[in-house]
């Protein structure tokens, strides 16, 4: 079966996710601004370099704490629903095989591509399918962070009613740290992702229009 490089469900969930992630990050940073410290009162974590530093207003959404909380808890469900639609499609269509990082197929290629980016290798290794190994590693990594983001958020939202989840993450204040670190990881991914897309503009066209049909669909 021939399928475009980016099937329509992938394109829609990708761009919906861009909007939802921006809403979640902006409202989340506004919520953080109400108490921009990590650790329980009187025992703030010494390793956190930004204790007491409010996120810049330009990055926030919701205006004030109550507004931001309502945005965050309203759009969290849409974020989860969109992610589940994407995951269900990946599983049902077999797309996961050409998108996710499979060590036996991708590990050597990922290392080779990394060396190429570091200019320690003259040519990139030959690409197998729609992505190179390093792309698959990055995309799979950011997909793995999503559940952590949602679960740590649930633990902060309902620390008493979800006691096992909260304990698993190390308690309320540790879950808050994990939630922020997961956001940081996604922000770093997004930064690199946007730079790469600008350097390889064709991928932006494909993620919007679909791209040429590929015959290598599993």
């Amino acid at each position: 079966m021939a399928r475009p490089k980016q099937p329509w469900i992938v394109r829609i969930t990708h761009w919906v996710n861009v909007v939802l992630l921006a809403i979640m990050a902006g409202s989340g940073l506004r919520i953080l601004g109400a108490y921009p410290k990590l650790g329980p009162v009187g025992e703030e974590y010494g390793w956190y370099p930004l204790q007491g530093v409010e996120p810049p207003a330009v990055l926030t959404l919701g205006g004030w704490l109550a507004g931001a909380r309502h945005w965050h808890f309203a759009f969290a469900w849409l974020f989860v629903a969109n992610a589940l639609a994407y995951a269900a499609y990946l599983a049902a269509s077999g797309e996961w095989r050409r998108r996710l990082f499979l060590p036996r197929r991708d590990l050597v290629n990922a290392a080779g591509t990394f060396l190429y980016y570091l200019r320690l290798r003259r040519a990139p290794p030959p690409q197998d399918g729609i992505y190179n190994g390093l792309q698959r590693l990055a995309y799979t990594g950011v997909l793995a962070i999503a559940p952590l983001l949602v679960l740590s958020g649930l633990a902060i939202y309902k620390p008493v009613q979800l006691p096992r989840l909260t304990a698993l993450l190390g308690g309320y204040d540790a879950a808050r740290v994990i939630h922020l670190l997961a956001l940081l990881a996604i922000a770093l991914f997004t930064l690199v992702h946007v730079v790469q897309v600008l350097l390889h503009f064709r991928t932006l066209v494909e993620m919007t229009a679909g791209g040429r049909a590929q015959e290598d669909v599993p």
Binding site: L32, V41, H70, A74
Partner: protein
């Protein structure tokens, strides 16, 4: 469903959001789409709630250092109890009560040391001594029609309203002591609501009245846009 149907459905949904009063208004976040989702989240939180699920009791060494436990009130100065203070218990109750602090201290007492979760994001720990609200409700003989509880204070009209299930949770108490000492004025003396299952702003300090009512009320912060249910 094909792509055309999917897109048509999405456009219809977006049109509804734009036209049907389902806007997202940060200034009035309990209205529109955000308000709709608050009510959905209330149902989610009520479904998660178990009346017999207890928040973990914490050891004494987890207590927040003396004086560092944040103290919030809305009056310009620490509210001081009026002379002859007493708690009124009224509403859908067979035996409305007026309880002095001594009356309350004579009731079966309890002590809880649990994590406090503030809407702002901080957490802190103290131990709280008092009487379970469920014990007071039993003494007052509350009516099955009572579904909500309103708490009033002498802190410039600060108040809140709760669902009955959270109010009758074994870790929801009327507290007259903190960390083994009498409750200090900045923490809500002579009597405050304390609970393991709500955010801090639901725990009304400087209590004057507890009313068991059939319908949902508002509250000082709730009327300004904060969530009504606010469970943790």
């Amino acid at each position: 469903m094909n792509r055309r149907q999917f897109l048509a459905g999405g456009l219809r949904g977006a049109g509804l959001v734009a036209l049907g009063g389902l806007a997202c208004d940060s200034e009035r976040p309990r209205t529109g789409f955000l308000g709709l989702m608050e009510r959905a989240n209330e149902r989610f939180q009520r479904a998660l709630f178990r009346p017999d699920r207890l928040a973990p009791e914490l050891p004494q060494e987890d207590e927040t250092p003396e004086g560092e436990f944040p103290a919030y009130f809305i009056s310009p100065r620490v509210p001081i109890a009026p002379a002859g203070w007493a708690l009124t218990v009224r509403g859908l109750a067979a035996r409305p009560l007026t309880l002095s602090l001594d009356d309350l201290r004579r009731l079966p007492g309890t002590s809880i040391r649990v994590r406090h979760h503030c809407v702002e994001g901080w957490s802190a720990v103290a131990s709280w001594q008092g009487v379970r609200l469920s014990e007071v409700a039993r003494l007052a003989g509350i009516d099955p029609r009572a579904r909500h509880v309103e708490f009033r204070s002498f802190d410039s009209g600060y108040w809140s309203s709760w669902d009955l299930e959270s109010a009758l949770h074994p870790q929801t108490i009327l507290a007259y002591g903190m960390n083994g000492a009498p409750l200090r004025p900045e923490y809500g003396a002579p009597l405050r609501l304390y609970s393991a299952v709500k955010l801090g702003y639901k725990m009304v300090k400087y209590l004057t009245e507890v009313a068991f009512l059939p319908s949902k009320g508002g509250g000082y912060w709730e009327d300004r846009g904060y969530e009504w249910y606010a469970g943790v």
